[in-house]
């Protein structure tokens, strides 16, 4: 697993963690992000249970785990939140922020650890990182893809954490951390967005929010980070994309040929 500082200003910085070469083949690759403000940390989408040791190892390069103040789970997926109990057990002072919608569901990951959550209200909220005086903002991203979902904006670094939005399933673990050629990057995002994103109207609402923020960097939970003009390129590509589709042609033409109708044959 690699980690890289993607923004740094005095004692405030962002670390991108990911591209785990040694992970189990069946695991989808994820990016985790660590915000460090002075000697306090905030971890974004800490990842799955399986990769906890590797993520912890990267985090420990920058900050002591006991100095992590907050943990953000953008939605309920296992690739995002199944490591939660291990972080919380290691440092019970961590506050976990997650959409209010999912708090009771995430508790199913508890593994015997007592988990408590700050449920982020639907319209989002401001949150300070520890006692640093720096604020981050939870930005609604409902139905992008999860029905209770938040992106996160950090005005200090001008970075927008987009969660699964902008996600790409990249071909190998040496693939570039930043998008270098947008048009050739599309092939790794297209399938992901078409299938995982359930609502075009929610997606267009989210595009408006990102445009209103106009960040200089957009960091997704899978794939590569967008900078500068590539963000607008991505938003425009998204506006023209047909989402929530799966190849169900056969169903329309011959319903009896479907595997789920086999009982009737």
């Amino acid at each position: 697993m690699k980690s890289e500082i993607i923004f740094e200003q005095d004692d405030y910085y962002w670390v991108a963690i990911g591209r785990d070469k040694h992970k189990n083949e069946g695991l989808v690759d994820t990016n985790e992000y660590l915000i460090v403000a002075g000697n306090e940390g905030f971890l974004l989408d800490p990842g799955g249970l399986e990769i906890f040791p590797e993520v912890l190892n990267e985090v420990a390069k920058y900050i002591h785990p006991k100095d992590i103040r907050g943990l953000f789970a953008s939605h309920q997926d296992p690739d995002i939140a199944s490591s939660l109990p291990l972080w919380v057990e290691l440092n019970p002072d961590i506050t976990v922020y997650t959409p209010w919608l999912w708090a009771g569901f995430l508790s199913h990951f508890a593994m015997g650890v007592e988990l408590s959550f700050v449920g982020i209200p639907d319209n989002g909220m401001e949150q300070q990182i520890g006692s640093s005086g720096k604020s981050i903002y939870f930005v609604p991203a409902h139905y992008c893809h999860s029905s209770g979902n938040f992106s996160l904006y950090d005005p200090t670094a001008d970075i927008f954490f987009s969660g699964d939005m902008g996600g790409a399933l990249v071909p190998d673990m040496d693939y570039n951390l930043f998008v270098e050629n947008f048009s050739s990057h599309i092939q790794y995002m297209e399938g992901f967005h078409k299938r995982w994103m359930p609502s075009k109207s929610a997606l267009l609402d989210w595009v408006n929010r990102v445009r209103a923020i106009n960040p200089s960097m957009m960091a997704p939970q899978h794939g590569s980070i967008f900078k500068g003009e590539d963000i607008e390129r991505y938003l425009r590509w998204l506006e023209g994309l047909e989402v929530s589709v799966w190849n169900n042609e056969s169903e329309k033409t011959n319903i009896m040929g479907e595997p789920w109708m086999k009982w009737k044959r």
Partner: protein, 244 residues
Amino acid sequence: MNKTLQDINRRLNSLNSLGLDVSHESKSLSDLGNRLQVLAINGIVLASKVSGDRGHSLVTLTSLISKLPNEINPILKNIRTDSMDLAKDVTNCKIRFKKFSQYSRAIDILLKGENHNSLDLKSLYSDNFTESQGLNPVISSLAKKSSIVYEIILMLLKDSDTRLFQLSHSIKTLNSLIKRIHYMNLSITIESSALKEEGKKFNGLIEKVSELMNFLEQHAKILIKDIESGFVLLEKINNRRIIV
């Protein structure tokens, strides 16, 4: 996962499937007491038609058998509850074990420190590092978590040990009940064989009761074998030392 952990994991898996096996086994016995009672009540009806002393003792024997399901049913129920609890305990233990092994793997990776250019292994143990600089506190805190989790495993295993003891006790009681029923069945055989045509009516009852008891005996043997291997597994898990 290192070899010791793999070994423990393997044994936990065996213990888990063992709990499920016992629970499954005991499920197949659940209506046995009721079946025996129906047989015995039919026997009472038959015996009441036999006149004289013989008829009297046959009524006594069959009604004794008819009362035994009241003793058998709670034992079977206990076996079922204990075995289900055992399977549940071990499943819980498996979940905690997973957590433990992830902590243990984290310690391995941190100690290797392959990516920690500025820190070599020796320096991890030196006192020159302050809390926030060195990885030492991370590792010791993880090690502490690991040992706590390991203690939880041992605690759960102790529970499993108790359950296995309870199970073996239940089965011993069950076995002595089976013996008593076999004995009464034998007495009915003797009493009824002294009768002529009338006595033949009892053959079906005798055969069915002995069939039921053989079935129960067979399953009790399987359960005892399972429980013994459960004890062996617990012993092996308890004897492993975890070095982190």
